[in-house]
């Protein structure tokens, strides 16, 4: 087996996996902290991708700068959505089921709004570097992969540090680990849930932009992205930021190696076979310890 092929496949697999991790980390948080399975998470990612597409097409704004603009906007939008839609369902008997049904509907609404604004045509995010590569010896590091990987790394690290080092972040963790104790210590659980939801949606936007750098997208692409969201969250463990990042890398390595060693038609089988293995043998994910 050719070393260049193996290494090259590994590089792109890992970079791709990291992008899935950024897209999935917020999904994992809302699931873990709020018990909300946010089916429209990928649709918000797609919204970020479309915003980046329009900003690039009409104003020449680079997707990296778009991410910086989209993240706070999505944060604010998500705060409003939380108050309007998510907060009422937290009173439901079965939050998981209620949230799935509600956000499934929200995903359909978002998909139709995007189809109305941007039409059903497929789109490709093509900044100047979209098909360039950094060449190091026999290896090619594709710029969109590098940018996606870099943005994902920054996004996940920032989220991790926020949760670890800030008071609000610690409150989010407390709400996840001991909600009743957190409430007794004066943590406003609704406010924390709103921040968690908004953070999750923001990371979805950034993840969507990164993924749009790698693949074309259409209004229904969020359905496909959702499959990968479940994959990284189940492998990484619900509510676990580091676990999700690691899951992204593991999925990337497995996909990369499968591409190098196996017939291509087996790649998805292997990747999603991994999901089955985790569901059967390690339903809590990579780490035994719950948390962020």
């Amino acid at each position: 087996m050719d070393a260049v092929l193996i290494f090259q496949s590994l590089i792109s697999g890992i970079m791709m996996g990291m992008v899935y991790a950024l897209l999935g980390v917020g999904f994992s948080l809302t699931w873990g902290v709020m018990h909300v399975i946010h089916i429209s998470h990928g649709a918000f990612g797609l919204l970020g991708a479309y915003a980046a597409y329009s900003l690039l097409q009409y104003f020449g704004v680079d997707p990296i700068a778009s991410a910086a603009m989209s993240v706070p906007l999505l944060f604010l939008m998500a705060c409003g959505l939380y108050q309007l839609l998510i907060r009422p369902i937290t009173r439901a008997k079965n939050i998981i089921m209620a949230s799935m049904i509600l956000t499934f509907g929200l995903a359909i609404i978002l998909e139709n709004i995007m189809a109305l604004i941007w039409k059903a045509d497929p789109r490709v995010l093509t900044p100047a570097y979209s098909s360039g590569a950094l060449i190091v010896g026999p290896f090619y590091f594709q710029y969109p992969h590098l940018v996606g990987f870099g943005l994902s790394l920054v996004g996940i690290t920032a989220l991790y540090l926020f949760l670890k080092k800030t008071y609000t972040g610690m409150a989010v963790r407390a709400a996840w680990q001991q909600p009743e104790a957190a409430r007794l210590y004066g943590v406003n659980l609704f406010q924390i849930s709103m921040i968690t939801f908004a953070l999750a949606v923001s990371t979805a936007g950034a993840g969507g932009i990164c993924l749009a750098l790698l693949n074309s997208f259409e209004p229904h692409s969020h359905n496909l992205w959702l499959i990968y969201l479940f994959l990284v969250v189940i492998v990484g463990g619900v509510g676990n930021v580091i676990g999700t990042a690691l899951a992204g890398l593991i999925i990337g390595v497995i996909t990369g190696l499968s591409m190098a060693f196996l017939p291509f038609q087996w790649v998805n089988l292997v990747t999603f076979g991994l999901l089955m293995v985790f569901l059967i043998f390690r339903p809590h994910g990579i780490f035994k310890q719950e948390g962020l």
């Binding site: 092929l5 090259q8 059903a120 060449i135 291509f264």
Partner: protein, 402 residues
């Protein structure tokens, strides 16, 4: 004022004559009777929404045109279009519903091939004429008698035009080693038929022949393998998303074979719009084109120019229009809405469409139709056969633009 009996009678006669003239004159845009309802489903949302919506636009353009001429059999036509959300199961359900619940007069063709293939037995069961793209060769080999492809979208024929042109290239200048990557579904696999036949004929060795399952999220390994194997022709037998992923990887990894042949994705308008220069020089095929000289093409091009600011009608707009053209001629020929009579008329007569004149064999297929295409300067040009050529093909492929 008193009107004399004789005068009153005269007025009555004049009024009756005027009325009878009004009824006898075929008024433009007016037709008597209940509208003819043409039903079925299209993927107006979901994965195939872009193409589905173009088919609908083509069909509606036809309907506006036919209604302005007085309709079919003197009756206006109207559509009952369901959105099957790109779901084959729903396409079947809606076809059944259109026939049995809505009791439509005619059925229209669906999309994609997987949906059309699934609706064909429904049409056969209810004895309804079904003019569509079909679901590649196998779907027309099931013994159905009410299904017609006018034109069909036939993967088995898709690269015929390209290969006919390649055969004219001197043997020493032709590619020698091929990398073939095919999406693992009926559409992708149907493309292998012409590749296998022609590569053998033209002495091109298939060095890599691999299938992949959608989604193809990364094409790095595919391109690295093709590059390392020194393949000088790449067949990327897929749709738009995997086609884009493959093209981007090929450019980024500096892989520039003599020819890149792409399946269905490169004839979608988004290919040129979204990929720009990177989408150039890709070969493919088509069975319809606004650049053909068959009657109707100019009119369609003028309409899309005015309405959508496009220089040429998109392929699927043409499909929608052509299927309806065929149905229209069959109904006019049969002179009734009796499905079996419409079918029998189609089996025995020639129809003239924007894809050219067609007669149908017992499978419901016309003679093979395919034109080789290449994207040159952001436009899908016809390269083969020679008599329809709009531009000389660019070969070998120039280096990627920086």
């Amino acid at each position: 004022m008193k009107v004399k009996r004789g005068n009153f009678f005269s007025l009555l006669v004049i009024a009756a004559i005027i009325c009878s003239f009004t009824l006898m004159t075929p008024a433009v845009g007016f037709s008597a009777g209940k509208p003819i309802v043409i039903g079925g489903s299209l993927p107006l949302t979901g994965a195939y929404a872009e193409t589905g919506q173009w088919i609908e636009k083509g069909m509606r353009f036809w309907a506006d045109e036919i209604n302005s001429k007085g309709g079919m059999l003197g009756r206006t036509v109207e559509f009952k279009i369901y959105d099957d959300q790109s779901d084959v199961g729903k396409a079947v359900t809606f076809a059944e519903k259109a026939i049995t619940v809505d009791k439509v007069d005619l059925l229209f063709g669906g999309y994609p091939g997987t949906a059309a293939r699934a609706v064909m037995p429904v049409a056969e069961k209810h004895k309804f004429v079904y003019v569509s793209m079909g679901g590649h060769m196998k779907s027309f080999e099931q013994g159905y008698t009410y299904s017609f492809g006018a034109p069909p979208l036939m993967g088995e024929w898709w690269y015929e035009g390209f290969f006919h042109w390649l055969a004219t290239v001197p043997a020493d200048k032709r590619p020698k080693r091929a990398a073939v990557y095919t999406i693992n579904n009926p559409v992708g696999l149907s493309l292998m038929d012409s590749i296998n036949r022609w590569t053998k004929k033209l002495n091109i060795e298939i060095v890599i022949n691999e299938k992949y399952n959608a989604p193809l999220t990364d094409a790095t390994a595919l391109i690295v393998k093709a590059k390392q194997s020194r393949c000088d022709i790449l067949f990327a037998n897929g749709f738009f998303p995997d086609g884009v992923t493959t093209m981007k990887a090929a450019k980024a990894l500096g892989y520039n074979p003599k020819a890149i042949v792409q399946g269905i994705g490169s004839v979608v308008p988004a290919w040129v719009k979204e990929l720009g220069k990177d989408g150039d020089y890709v070969f493919s095929g088509t069975c319809l084109s606004g650049q053909l000289s068959y009657p109707g093409n100019d009119k369609l091009n003028a309409y899309v120019k005015k309405t959508y600011n496009l220089n040429e009608y998109p392929l699927y707009f043409g499909f929608g229009y052509s299927w309806m053209q065929t149905l229209e001629q069959a109904v006019a020929g049969a002179k009734v809405l009796d499905q079996t009579k419409i079918r029998d008329w189609l089996k025995a007569n020639k129809v003239n469409t924007i894809a050219g004149p067609m007669t149908f064999d017992k499978r419901g297929l016309p003679e093979p139709i395919n034109f080789g295409t290449q994207i040159i300067n952001g436009k899908v040009e016809l390269i083969s056969p020679k008599n329809v050529q709009t531009k000389e093909p660019v070969y070998p492929k120039p280096a990627w633009e920086k």
